[in-house]
Amino acid sequence: MNLLRKAEVAMPPPPAMSVPGDVPPEQRLLPGVEKKLRPGVKAGLVVQGLSKKFGGIYAVKDVYLDCRIGQIVGLIGPNGAGKTTMMNLISGALRPDSGVVFIDGETVSAASPADCAEAGIARTFQNIRLFKRMTVRQNVEVARITHRRVAKGKESGPGVDEILKLLNLDGLAELKAGNLPYGHQRRVEIARAMALSPRVILLDEPAAGMNEQESRALIGSVQMIRDRFGCGVIVIDHDLKFIMEVSEHLYVMHLGEVIVHGPPEQVRHDERVIEIYLGRKARK
């Protein structure tokens, strides 16, 4: 409970980690963000000083990141920037070398993926990972069972039927998930993650392989998820147009580090971002 309050304040890292003054200014939460939170709810995901090395090279280096309930956070960066590794660290698929992940103020870092799911972290996968031989409904049901077990009878959020309807999957419910086209499969992955009634959901390139029209519709879906399920959303994508429009706060990663973050409009005009992102394209 103590931790909870600490995490809610703004985000001074816990004393054991580092002194608040040590946090570089651009890695602190921007003042504007607090205002965007729904009144009364402040909890959500807080990541502090997360690092992970592969073979001596940092894939993620000392990352601070915040995703409060009701917030849609974007995460962009060139290939190999460490975005997926971040997702894996937050969701327990990888153990961090150092750093802490809080959900509603409780530590979940170094927990197993199943523990993270129970704590309220849901995710989708960049390379789709459905239970292919099962029906769409069964895919969603698998996650819902976990929620029912954790909630001990006090289920929260929409049930399986409503989730299917919300993501326009009700007509496909009895089909085998592996037989669907990719765009549909991505939606099944989102539906499955939502069935956990999570505190925060991590979407790894949900618009990949979608056409213009589908990714437009996806923007609406992501906002619907936030409103209807009352959770935080972290979205990774390479489609800048999509990510600028959907996210309220944007983090830019490069070589494992967050180089800048802020409201999308502000980030878009940041020199370093133009340099690594747009500049590189312009040079081509």
Binding site: A114, A117, R129, L130, R133, T146, R149
Partner: protein, 353 residues
Amino acid sequence: MNLLLRTGINAVLPIGILVLLGSAILAFAEPYQVRVAYAFFMNLVIAIGLQVFMGNTGVVSFGHVSFMGISAYAVSLLTIPLALKKTLIPKAPFELATVHVGIVPAIVLALLFTALVAWLSGMVLKRVGGAAAEILTLALLVISFVVFNAWIDLTRGPRSLYGIPVVSSLPWAMAAAAVAIFVAKLFRDSDGGLQLRASSENLLAARAMGVPVESLRLRAWVISAVLVGVGGILHATYLGTIGPNSYYFTQTFLIMAMVILGGMRSVSGTIVGTALISVGSEAARSLENGPVIFGSKLPEMFGLTGFFLGTVIVLCMTLRRDGILGDDEFEDIVRQRRMRKTEAAAAAGVAAS
């Protein structure tokens, strides 16, 4: 409650057909055919037991027949008359030579003991998946065979135990098969069964959805071991005599062929596979002895049964990896057909208007 009811309804069809078949055999068949039918129902119980583990976890097990042996030996050691025991195994450990219990408590104790062994071995097994787990199950089979064979004081080794009260008969085997089918379907459709099947399809995604993979694997392992144990009791209490060779590779291979041919991921598939393999290996066995067909005597072909099983497995693995029924239960097939029919009707309606 809902689940129990649904499973009951779905199990009515296969159980009904099997009971009709068994009753017909009881009423009309000769003793030899009754023996064949008994073996079919006994093997069905064992195959379904194996399906509970293999079908839901996706891990192949070569070790389940050892649970058949464990419960068969356990029930025998508890029920062989004391006078006979004194001559058969006078030096039995744990005072077993002086212990005698009724058949019902003996069966309960044997199944509990089997569950205990399964739980202990499962504690090791649940941590590993894939090939490592499969090798562990093979080791289990070999270890148990060595124990049955070499612990002469307890099991009499290869000279086999006899004098087990012959209390079982075809109706018992039929009842056991019906219970096994119901339990297997119930587990498959239960929350744990669904989550476990998800983990066998995509382990990473299942873990990310909060599936407690290890504890579910353990649960499936123990349930399936107990069902296979029931098969072992059916074996011992029908023959009245048991030896280590009944619980080794030949039996393992037979049961594997049954489960794989029908489709290991479906209970219905296992029923189909067991029926086909039973008929096939019975035919192969009669050919082995060089029968007389249309007046001409065929040559004797020893080992034809094994050859038949091997061929079935090879053909199945190359032509139809998922078995005859794949993932589907009988009720899924009925539902899919109905769905297709309504779709066709709807399409016809659209075309007409």
